[in-house]
């Protein structure tokens, strides 16, 4: 009886399913390594190679950074407006293009020396992130003030974002071949910089949620915006704020992605990442219908998606086929978390409990 209670309490934790999903992916890796005759815990091994941490876990934490950063903003957007911002991938690319254009100057395709820079790198980076913030304000304005459905409102920048990026870069790849710029996609000390940036982004949002009442406002607006208004909350302003934060975070993710390939590649940066971000929110156990949210769940969700991808490559699945297997795993995780399945298990438990009670009564 005691273990039963313990188990039930564990499964009722809000983060149980997202964490369980991660656990499952890890177990698959361990089993695979064992079967292959590799060291069974090879997946977890972390070494220092060329002054930087190296290993599959590190790789997941590194590669998953953009999705994790996007998932933070996406969580707020979903919670407050019961809709998704599908423009984040394009906005990432736009932020990168704008940054590179500012650094290189319009029409210039290669920057090889620091002298050729048009402005300090950090100014360009900040400007790129701010432009993404402006995109967020634009999205928020359409959703909150014009009352356009989020999907439709953000479809505008989803389509136009990359095109604007191409205009800014004169339809060419712009390379910034400087270590000072590459650093955002490489390593900081022994840690991968994207992971450090993601950690800072998560920390900032956690502090904001702990020290301000943003979290309560966002959920309140998402659950019942009319009641929130009567209680003195400016629902439109809160929704706009969420989209703005989402835009700014997309800008940060865009700078990382651009720095990884040290070039503005409008057509490919952040491609399909909006889907990963949305999926991360859902995997984290958050309802896409808005309302209550769990930020930690979304972030774990983002890394779970990356873990699946990395696992697949290490299993030798071809890159083109990977999405099929990824889809299967995602379906499993989402279905296990869905209402009807949970209700089914609750029903089974209740049946079992009543049987036990009947037997107990007879004996």
């Amino acid at each position: 009886m005691k273990t039963d209670n313990w188990f039930r309490r564990l499964t009722k934790q809000p983060l149980f399913l997202p964490l369980f999903s991660v656990f499952l992916v890890l177990v698959i890796n361990v089993v695979y390594d064992t079967v292959q005759g590799n060291p069974p815990l090879g997946f977890f091994s972390i070494t220092i190679t060329e002054g930087a941490l190296y290993g599959r876990i590190i790789d997941i934490l590194n590669r998953g950074s953009e999705a994790a950063i996007l998932a933070i903003g996406m969580t707020l957007v979903v919670s407050s407006s019961a809709g998704t911002d599908i423009s984040v991938g394009s906005v990432m690319s736009l932020a990168g293009s704008f940054c590179c254009m500012l650094l290189a100057g319009f029409g210039v395709t290669h920057v090889r020396t620091a002298d050729a820079l048009q402005m300090p790198i950090f100014v360009g980076v900040i400007a790129g992130i701010l432009l993404a913030g402006v995109c967020g304000v634009f999205n928020g304005f359409l959703v909150a003030r014009m009352k356009i459905q989020p999907m439709v409102a953000t479809l505008i920048l989803f389509t136009a974002g990359r095109a604007i990026g191409l205009l800014l870069t004169n339809s060419k790849m712009v390379y910034i071949l400087l270590d000072e710029f590459k650093v955002f996609g490489k390593t900081l000390g022994i840690f991968p910089t994207p992971t450090v940036i993601a950690a800072v982004c998560i920390l900032v949002m956690t502090i904001v949620l702990r020290t301000t009442s943003l979290g309560m406002y966002v959920q309140s607006v998402g659950i019942n915006s009319r009641a929130s208004r009567i209680a003195g909350i400016n629902s439109a302003a809160i929704i706009m704020l969420c989209y703005t934060i989402c835009g700014l975070y997309a800008g940060v993710a865009g700078i990382i992605a651009t720095s990884r390939i040290y070039s503005a590649d409008s057509n490919n940066i952040g491609l399909n990442l909006e889907l990963d971000a949305i999926l991360a929110v859902a995997l984290g156990g958050n309802s896409l219908g808005g309302g209550r949210f769990n930020l930690a769940g979304s972030i774990i969700g983002a890394y779970t998606i990356q873990a699946i991808t990395t696992t697949m490559f290490s299993l030798g699945v071809a890159k083109a086929e990977a999405p099929v297997y990824k889809a299967i795993i995602v379906i499993l995780i989402v279905v296990v978390q869905s209402g009807p399945v949970k209700a089914y298990f609750a029903h089974k438990r209740a049946q079992k409990a009543s049987r036990v009670a009947v037997q107990g009564g007879a004996g």
Binding site: T211, M216, Q219, S220, N224, I230, G232, I233
Partner: protein, 504 residues
Amino acid sequence: MSNQVILSMRGISMTFPGVKALDRVDFTLREGEIHALMGENGAGKSTLIKCLTGVYDNEQGEIYMGPEQKLIKNHSTLEAQSNGISTVYQEVNLCPNLSVAENLFIGREPMTKLHTIDRRAMLKKARELMKKLDINVDVTRTLNSFSIAVQQMIAIARAVDMECKVLILDEPTSSLDDKEVEKLFGMMRSLRDQGIGIIFVTHFLEQVYSVCDRITVLRNGTLVGEYEIADLPRLKLVAAMMGKDFDDLASIRSKEDEQVSDELIIEARGLSHARKIKPFDLDIHKGEVIGLTGLLGSGRSELARTIYGADKAQTGELKVKGQTVKINAPIDAMRLGMGLLPDDRKAEGIVEDLSVRENIMLAMQSLKGIRARIPMEKQMEITRKYIDLLEIKTPSTETLVKQLSGGNQQKVIIARWLATDPDFLILDEPTRGIDVGTKTEIQKLVVDLARQGKSVIFISSEIEEMLRTCNRLAVLRDGAKVGELSENLTQESVMRTIAGGERN
């Protein structure tokens, strides 16, 4: 009335986290009777209904249906409907953006041979049904173009049309005015005569006595008893519901409460909101309870909402404590010390997926601003204080507010405003859908607030309740303020002003 039993529930038990909602409750319904299910908030009425309709899965107990008393088990409302049990709730659960006809036949649309919806047949059937039940509406218009009252009747029409043997009406009259209530009762009586058993859940005692045949009383999740209507006079019913003798409601206000200071809190001049409320003047003094009365839809809610800024005033001038102010949104009114408890609790009151604590803290937090988060210890302290003060029945401070009963939800919203320490509080139908005991508590609270020097606008459909609590009444008719009554407040004088005409 035959004595054929068509529904019996035996030993129904149900537990929620921390609360025993039902404890071995029996309930029996006979053919062709209207059976009132009575009890205070949280007595288990709604839970019993939900066990019957399959919304909840009762832990213990059996349900038997029909003349042969077949054992049934409903796992969903759909299954309940196929067993002949239909429900109409207080809040209309239809699709507001579909037409009346579509709503009537949703899920069971008449089909053509090509398996497409036969719109012509649907409209024809809908019109016939409406005519049969004497509801005068255009069935092609969308549901949300009608008042809540009409929507309610359409919901009943839908339920009645579905071959039901047991019809459950859960607080159907809360948003209806007297004429509509009478019409609904006519409908209920004719259904009864056709042999349908009706379970009627309501808080209005008078209505129980004018339409019901039997009463079952619940208290704290247990069965108190089943009575013939003639055997249970009103006072005994109240005593049965509360488990104690009823203290006299008339005594809540005393002579000193008639003394109101001359200090003006609110001076409204020519305020209006297009199509909802015509320009009106209104003065409210410190420590005064002013009642707004009138028929449903007369503009009494709209008047209050215009002052508060829930509907922005389009003309006129408002002075608060002598200062001319501009209110663009509710937050502006809140900063001036106002609060509004809206009449539609579900749509504008509670934030259902937030906890009791968060719901109580909401207004206070928005007054402090987003950056100054109230520390958790302070939040807990305030929440506990109001849970104790208003006797809110909740398992914990972190329980989601949607899990509480209606009356307790209402108390949570009252707590939300009391926490902001307002000078001027607007209570729009604070006692709707609430049991007698809580009603008295709320009335006493209003009088107490006035004693503390706060001003209150009190809006209620029940004139008696207003007479007990208010110093002065403003009467509205057709979106305009037509008079004020402050002396010799009697039911008759108020009615006469509402009806209009003779008064000088």
